[in-house]
Symmetry: C2
Subunit: 243 residues, 2 copies
């Protein structure tokens, strides 16, 4: 029996999604609870990793179990045992052709910037930027990332063979002091969104131009895009399996 689960988490107190020795991760917490429920050492397979501090409202994983439980029962069994910073929002029975990672068609991430006065209650949930930002320049510069590009300059991982990804859309929403940047694409490299956000902020501050961003993108040199926006503003919103 294959189960597809949608999981929300507050990334603040996790060392990311993926299991790491001696560190608290989302995967390990879920697998511990699955062991309690099924008495089997189940390994879950997620759509992708998220880093320390990155939040999720729509991460997806699947796992197989010989135990047959109703969707609702499995959801309750998980949520009643999981720590409060993880919540399973949906469980579905799926057939064996479904794979959380390989079946994923699109991913949606949001990045939240706050240019207003600092509020310590949101310090884990927004990136506070103290500078004036020219949002129209940022929107214009973001266009250079849309489409299929080799994002080699925009990732931490230098050993990847294929660093080409397709970004379908980058959407800006401003509401008073909050700027939400929505990214929709077929996949994102490690730190890619956070580096793009950092570069867009440089443009908004007037320290970089759109032309310089195009140069960096085409130059494929990570040292030209040295900044990375903090993880706490980043949210994995949705994994899309059907188009």
């Amino acid at each position: 029996m294959r189960y597809k689960c949608t999981v929300q988490y507050d990334g603040t107190l996790f060392h990311g999604f993926q299991t790491q020795p001696n560190l608290r991760t989302v995967q390990e917490e879920i697998e511990k609870v699955l062991y309690i429920i099924t008495k089997d050492n189940i390994k879950i397979q997620a759509a992708g990793r998220t880093d320390t501090g990155v939040h999720s409202l729509g991460q997806v994983f699947h796992f197989d179990s010989s135990i047959t439980m109703g969707e609702w029962n499995m959801q309750n069994a998980l949520n009643s045992r999981l720590p409060k910073d993880i919540y399973i929002s949906k469980v579905e029975h799926v057939d064996k052709t479904f794979h959380a990672r390989y079946s994923a068609k699109k991913k949606e991430y949001h990045y939240i910037i706050d240019i207003g006065e600092y509020n310590p209650l949101y310090h884990n949930y927004r990136y506070y930027v103290k500078h004036q930002l020219d949002i129209n320049k940022m929107i214009d510069a973001s266009l250079c990332f849309i489409g299929e590009h080799d994002f080699k300059a925009f990732t931490k991982n230098h050993n990847l063979i294929n660093t080409t990804r397709i970004i379908d859309n980058i959407i800006f929403i401003q509401n008073d002091n909050i700027i939400i940047i929505k990214f929709i694409g077929n996949g994102f490299l490690h730190n890619m969104i956070r580096i793009i956000v950092a570069m867009l902020i440089e443009v908004g501050r007037g320290r970089k131009t759109k032309e310089e961003l195009i140069e960096i993108l085409e130059g494929k040199d990570r040292t030209r895009a040295p900044k990375t926006a903090p993880p706490n503003g980043l949210y994995l919103i949705n994994i899309c399996y059907n188009i």
Copy 2:
């Protein structure tokens, strides 16, 4: 020189406001930074304590120092050294007649209840209630607390001589699944708001009546009001010094 400071904090990782040995508290963090700035062992005096997990958007404290700094400079000196879950939102020079605790005329607290689906991103900031609540019954029952009453049944602290307080107003605001209950009064006993909220939820669930609440209030017996709503839904919003 007397300084009046307004301080916001995320109560999640503090063992309340007031200094306690070997525990992380808001007071200790602020006094450590004041020592760095002034090289004096300054004790701050707050308007009141808050418990572990209770948040603040408007706590006030004062302190005296022989060092004269501009209001803006003092605010920056503090904020640049304080941890990210504390933020000084205002510093004012005041004369020696001002006392953060004794000069306080009114205090305002908000309590946030969420009756919608659980979201782990808000788990430290709202009280999730899984039951249907009849908000009109809660509003009606809240009226019995308004005015001057002996709140002996509604506090954890049994050794207080004077347990009489005046609640000016209790205001309910509902927005979709969020219920905010605003309390304004001359002061609140230890756990008083959280016990009142727990009792109002009992009324909203149909497990207690307004008449029973009046009986408990008049009976002055804490064992009749045994529940306490969790601290993470509670916010100290404002201390009012001028009326």
